[in-house]
């Protein structure tokens, strides 16, 4: 046993703790609503080739921008249609300290891009006006909050993934957010088992806005 072995074991112990949290988070899966119920497999991002294109097209906006929810009230939502693609939630009595709300927003602006092949995306921390979670937010609040930090000048389409739950079950980096978005929205292969993507303790709302 040398220092390098000890460091590796430390890292593995840390990973084991994360897996333990993942496993304990999955224990409540029975009472979780099916994720993306009613959606086809991978309809959002189409094929894995499309996903590859999407990845290549990613220009991550300023990561972890803190968005204050009050600002959305002062700005009207651009004209368009808001559709709720998926919603799961209703967890009560959340301790404030270790819970957070985050948004992953995918923007399509120019004619070549769309929700399947967005131009850019943002990972944002978010404080809902209501003080609650994504499941209790006003219908347009997610979209409006994302528009505040739009990474294209004239968005045509936006897909927003809103997440509320224990910080340890939320994405901690751009890579994790990208991986989660891919899992939730599909890559043309498998979106069937909803609780695969997220711990059941995380509330979810996915909304799409389009001006077309």
């Amino acid at each position: 046993m040398n220092e390098r072995d000890a460091q590796r074991l430390l890292e593995m112990a840390h990973e084991a703790e994360r897996l333990e949290r993942d496993l304990s988070g999955a224990m409540g899966a029975a009472d979780a609503l099916p994720l993306l119920a009613g959606r086809g497999r991978g309809s959002m991002f189409g094929s894995s080739t499309r996903w590859g294109y999407w990845r290549a097209a990613i220009a991550a906006c300023a990561a972890f921008v803190l968005v204050f929810g009050a600002s959305w009230l002062q700005r009207s939502l651009p004209k368009g249609t808001v559709t709720t693609i998926a919603s799961r939630g209703g967890h009560k009595a959340k301790p404030a300290a270790d819970h957070a709300t985050m948004l992953i927003a995918l923007f399509a602006g120019d004619e070549q891009s769309n929700a399947a092949e967005p131009e850019c995306w943002c990972l944002q921390r978010f404080a809902p006006v209501s003080g609650g979670d994504v499941a209790s937010m006003a219908p347009e609040e997610l979209i409006a909050a994302s528009m505040e930090r739009a990474c294209v000048t004239s968005p045509r389409q936006v897909v927003v993934i809103g997440l509320s739950g224990p910080r340890e079950h939320l994405p901690a980096s751009d890579d994790e957010a990208r991986s989660l978005a891919k899992c939730l929205l599909g890559d043309g292969a498998s979106v069937g088992s909803g609780d695969v993507c997220l711990a059941s303790s995380v509330d979810l709302r996915v909304q799409r806005w389009s001006n077309e």
């Binding site: 046993m1 040398n2 220092e3 390098r4 072995d5 000890a6 460091q7 074991l9 430390l10 890292e11 593995m12 112990a13 840390h14 990973e15 084991a16 703790e17 994360r18 897996l19 333990e20 949290r21 993942d22 496993l23 304990s24 988070g25 999955a26 224990m27 899966a29 029975a30 894995s48 996903w51 590859g52 990845r55 890579d175 994790e176 990208r178 991986s179 989660l180 891919k182 899992c183 890559d187 292969a189 498998s190 979106v191 088992s193 609780d195 695969v196 993507c197 997220l198 711990a199 059941s200």
Partner: protein
């Protein structure tokens, strides 16, 4: 080697332990429950490791399935010893072995086929081959060591002070010297020295 008795975290693992005990006793309903309890968490674990690779979801699901098959087989054979590691650590150890085998197998295939190391990640053939292996011996040794480190981090062994454990946790999280220095409130060079000292102490304690 340990100076304190092992005290598993009951909140996180007691339900799993109970399920595992029922599986070992031959309860088929418990087998289905355990599968349901483990698969999503294992899949998320592998998704994190695969990051944004192409086909990451299918690969994560395949790897989770391979890990589940190994866990199930090892439980059935009585290869898991709760005295040496809590079940969650054991499951991690098995998952880690499955992951390492997948990486090695993938590397072999790429060398053999002359394929480049691209974003395709782990092939379906690779993950299918994993369930043929036997993780029993490897898992037992590995998980015992990981469990000991978890005990150290929890303050139940090794004689590390809370500040030292905090530094060890920062190292475990992959902190650079600069990040460690910031956390400890010292210069980067001092942080590097402390890292070496702490790792040497940990290695010595683990080595018995």
């Amino acid at each position: 080697m340990r100076d304190d008795p092992r005290q598993p975290d009951p909140a996180a693992s007691s339900h799993l332990d109970a399920l595992a005990a029922r599986v070992i006793a031959g309860d088929e309903f418990a087998l289905a429950e355990l599968h349901e309890a483990l698969t999503p968490g294992l899949t998320r674990h592998f998704l994190r490791k695969l990051g944004g690779q192409r086909r990451a979801i299918e690969q994560a699901e395949e790897l989770a399935q391979a890990a589940w098959v190994q866990v199930w087989a090892l439980l059935q054979r009585g290869a898991y010893d709760p005295q040496r590691a809590r079940l969650t650590t054991y499951i991690y150890g098995v998952a880690h072995i499955v992951w390492m085998r997948a990486m090695r197998e993938q590397e072999r295939r790429q060398q053999r086929d002359g394929a480049s190391l691209d974003a395709d990640g782990v092939s379906g053939d690779t993950t299918r081959a994993l369930v043929e292996g036997d993780a029993a011996e490897d898992a037992l040794e590995l998980t015992s060591q990981i469990e000991q480190v978890r005990e150290v981090l929890a303050g139940r062994g090794g004689g590390f002070t809370p500040a030292e454990r905090d530094a060890l946790r920062a190292i475990a999280e992959g902190s650079t010297d600069r990040e460690l220095a910031k956390r400890l409130g010292v210069a980067a060079s001092t942080a590097n020295e402390r890292r070496k000292t702490l790792l040497a102490r940990l290695a010595k304690w683990l080595g018995g």
